[in-house]
């Protein structure tokens, strides 16, 4: 290429001497240090490729001299986190479940950890917020408990499950299938439904409910209590309040008495470690319905017609 370097008039800058169809290029040289910076980046890249995983091979990339991997880093961070949490976890392990609320910091940590465990193991039935599924799984956020809502009772339920055939210590009971097994006939069940709807203040007393009251005393009171206040030792629900797991209308009550569901729950004592179960109990307790542990004296003195759920044994 002919050397046609000249000073460009408009800019006062020299051209580089090339010319293609009358197009020329001004000579504005790059600073030399820029070139050195560029070479430095190449050297840096070489060092990087030697120290860290870089070259794709058949099965995986080259390991790199430092042996670093993102998975290894994650494991290291998880181990560090576990070590950071160890004092709290140990403290929770050493604290009896009923004494957790007296140590607010531990309680809060337990609630946090329990929330995480709940989202893994419990949401499938009880729902993301613990609200359960109507006619299937009980709501854990309300103030009505089948088997007891204080920390120890919740802890026992989670550990042993409900009507679980694999553990002897499981919470268990069985409501007879009054209709299916022919213990009561359809008219008697209808009277019983009337009585239950009267004690839950959904209907006015009637002749049917008066007949039902007698049937109730004979067949139901042994578990559900004389006034229908429920019995937690056998998981018999309270029949006088506004909460109905399987529905409180006539059709639902009739179906329940005909053929009860007798819901089940897995026992978690073997699948989860003791600290996680404690944390789960604390979390469920914190959802809004947690009850104070009943004092021994209060249990004896509890009035069966207590308005709140608190007085229930």
């Amino acid at each position: 290429m002919a050397d046609k370097r000249r000073i460009d008039e408009a800019t006062g800058t020299s051209t580089v001497g090339h010319e293609w169809d009358g197009i020329e290029e001004l000579n504005t040289p790059l600073p030399r240090w820029w070139l050195w910076t560029f070479y430095l980046t190449i050297i840096w890249a070489l060092g990087y490729a030697i120290l860290y995983p870089a070259w794709p091979m058949v099965h995986s990339a080259t390991k790199g001299v430092l042996g670093w991997s993102s998975r290894g880093q994650l494991e290291k961070e998880l181990a560090a986190e576990a070590q950071r949490r160890a004092p709290i976890v140990n403290a929770i392990a050493a604290t009896p479940i009923a004494e957790l609320p007296a140590r607010p910091q531990l309680m809060q940590a337990a609630i946090q950890g329990g929330g995480a465990a709940f989202r893994v193991h419990c949401v499938q039935c009880h729902g993301a917020g613990g609200a359960g599924v109507k006619k299937l799984y009980p709501n854990l956020t309300d103030d009505d408990w089948l088997w007891g809502g204080d920390l120890a009772a919740i802890h026992y339920t989670i550990t042993n499950g409900i009507r679980n055939p694999d553990v002897k210590t499981t919470r268990t009971s069985q409501m007879p299938a009054f209709g299916r097994d022919g213990i009561l006939d359809a008219a008697q069940i209808d009277d019983l439904v009337s009585h239950v709807r009267v004690i839950s203040r959904q209907e006015k007393p009637s002749a049917s409910s008066a007949r039902g009251a007698a049937l109730f005393s004979a067949n139901c009171a042994v578990c559900h209590g004389a006034g229908g206040e429920g019995g937690r030792s056998v998981g018999a629900p309270k029949l006088t309040d506004a909460i109905w797991l399987y529905g409180g209308d006539r059709a639902s009550l009739t179906a329940t008495i005909n053929q009860p569901r007798n819901g089940v729950m897995p026992h978690w004592g073997e699948r989860l470690d003791p600290v996680t179960i404690k944390m789960l109990a604390a979390y469920v307790y914190s959802l809004g319905g947690g009850e104070k542990a009943p004092a021994p004296a209060a249990v004896a003195a509890a009035a069966p017609e207590g308005q709140g759920a608190d007085g229930q044994p």
Binding site: R5, R6, I7, G12, T13, S14, V16, G17, N27, P29, L30, P31, R32, W33, W34, L35, P104, G127, A128, G129, G130, A131, N139, T141, D142, D143, D144, R197, S200, R201, Q202, K238, D241, A242, I243, W244, G248, D249, S286, G288, K292, Q307, G308, A309, D310
Partner: protein, 490 residues
């Protein structure tokens, strides 16, 4: 800069080596102004982290602290929380508009006096003169062989460079932690790795950018000179060579031999010799000129020696130079500073500053954010009432523990309690103690009768109980089961 000489000789290189600059020592009003600004800016930079400011037992006592770990920014009596970051954004906008204002009024004054690159380059150039001597001695030393003296001087110079650079990097980290503690930890090897890393990086950049790159940073790396060229106009005050007065150039000897044939410029090249970026101001405004005005000092000194009036090189607008050339007179500086453009910039700058000061004065230091729990939206209670759950985030932004109350309004017969309380102790209001300078999360249970709209707005409010009753409130929904889904039994 290309010259016809470049056309002779061999191949054109695509890369240009840096032409070393050896600025000469100079004295004058602008040099003394630069001394003063350098002293003030360096004192602010190195000294600020060491100022103490008592904030009581619950907050750090460092006057200026960017506490990244706890996400707080302290500046004397002002404490900024992350959600108030718009104050920092406002400051940055003010800094931007301030630069527009300064540039349109007095050109690249920022570049010439206050830019850290300028201040540190200036400092390093003083080190050069201290160790190697003035311009000519520096050139001689640079071109001379590597004698023991040269090696010794270079070693000394780089050692001083490195000390300044290390001190600069070390001062930076003091803004991010308690300075005395960090200094102790730093020297006893207990500081965080990021502290050492930051010091190492800033030491390296200061050493390289201040010691060697210098004007290359301004010309090739910094975007600001390019932006500034778009903001300056013929009405901006610039360091300008009065070409009409100086040309044609000639020595005093020539001027005496041919009176009237030569201008005032005696072509002594002092303006070039003192220039820290190595340019010739007589070629007109250019990207390399940071308007440090040292050439004005140099030229005024020469003019005084040869008995000619000062101001051959001067702060002057291009418009005024043209007017003077045509026989008119330059407008007074006051008039060049106050013109619509600078006044508009100044007004915007003041308006943003005033708005920020106003909001700063009005802000409450107790803040409430309410989240309605969605899962479940409502809970049926055994006595027929409906309960909704809320998560309250109470921000106590004061550096003292505070007693506050939480109340609800607009929800008939509402009862509230928290995780610590229980429904039998529920009330219309609850009191809480908030830890100082922190966010307290409270799970709030609100129960109300089932009769009412399926979705009802009500207000949760908080206020201080300890003298300062200001607070915050938020309107939020209370959900009930829809009428057709209502549990029987009510």
């Amino acid at each position: 800069m290309a010259s016809p000489d470049d056309l002779t000789g061999g191949k054109t290189s695509l890369y240009a080596a840096r032409k070393a600059v050896y600025p000469k020592r100079v004295d004058g009003p602008f040099r003394r102004l630069k001394w003063a600004i350098m002293a003030v800016t360096l004192a602010i930079y190195y000294g600020t982290p060491w100022i103490r400011w008592d904030r009581g037992p619950y907050a750090p006592d460092q006057a200026v602290l960017v506490d990244l770990a706890h996400r707080r920014f302290y500046m004397f009596q002002i404490e900024i929380w992350p959600h108030e970051f718009y104050y920092v954004a406002g400051l940055l906008i003010m800094a931007g508009i301030g630069l527009f204002l300064v540039t349109s009024a007095v050109g690249r004054a920022w570049c010439g006096y206050a830019c850290p690159q300028t201040v540190w380059t200036d400092l390093f150039q003083h080190v050069d003169r201290l160790v190697d001597g003035d311009r000519n001695a520096q050139i001689r030393l640079a071109q001379g062989p590597w004698t023991a003296e040269k090696i010794g001087k270079r070693a000394l110079k780089y050692a001083i460079y490195l000390t300044i650079a290390f001190w600069t990097g070390g001062a930076w980290i003091m803004y991010f932690a308690d300075a005395p503690t960090l200094t102790h930890d730093f020297w006893t090897g207990q500081a965080a790795p990021v502290a050492y890393g930051t010091v190492a990086v800033l030491t390296a950049t200061t050493f390289v950018l201040g010691g060697f790159m210098r004007e290359q940073v301004c010309i090739y790396m910094c975007p600001w000179p390019r932006i500034q060229t778009a903001m300056m106009d013929e009405k901006s005050l610039l360091v300008t060579y009065r070409e009409w007065r100086g040309e044609p150039r000639g020595s005093t000897k020539k001027a005496m031999a041919h009176p009237g044939a030569f201008g005032d410029c005696i072509d002594c090249n002092q303006c070039v010799a003192v220039c820290p970026t190595g340019i010739d101001i007589r070629e007109g405004p250019q990207i390399g000129c940071i308007t440090c005005a040292l050439c004005i000092d140099a030229c005024d000194g020469v003019m005084a020696q040869v008995g000619r009036p000062r101001g051959l090189i001067d702060y002057c607008t291009l418009e005024d130079v043209a007017a003077e050339k045509a026989g008119g007179t330059a407008r007074p500086v006051r008039k060049t500073l106050f013109r619509p453009r600078t006044i508009i910039y100044f007004s915007i700058w003041c308006a943003i500053g005033a708005a920020m000061l106003f909001t700063l004065g009005q802000r409450t230091r107790l803040d409430l954010a309410v989240q309605h729990e969605r899962s479940p939206l409502y809970v049926q209670l055994s006595d027929g009432h409906i309960r909704n759950n809320y998560t309250l985030k109470l921000r106590n932004m004061e550096t003292r523990p505070r007693a506050v109350e939480v109340t609800v309004s607009g929800l008939k017969d509402a009862a509230l309690w928290t995780e610590e309380g229980s429904r039998d102790k529920a009330a219309q209001r609850i009191t809480l103690t908030l830890a100082p300078d922190s966010v307290t999360r409270v799970k709030l249970f609100v129960a109300a009768p089932a009769a009412g709209a399926a979705r009802q707005d009500f207000t949760i409010a908080t206020r201080g109980l300890d003298g300062d009753p200001r607070g915050d409130s938020e309107t939020i929904q209370f959900d009930r089961p829809p009428a057709d889904n209502q549990e029987p039994g009510q």
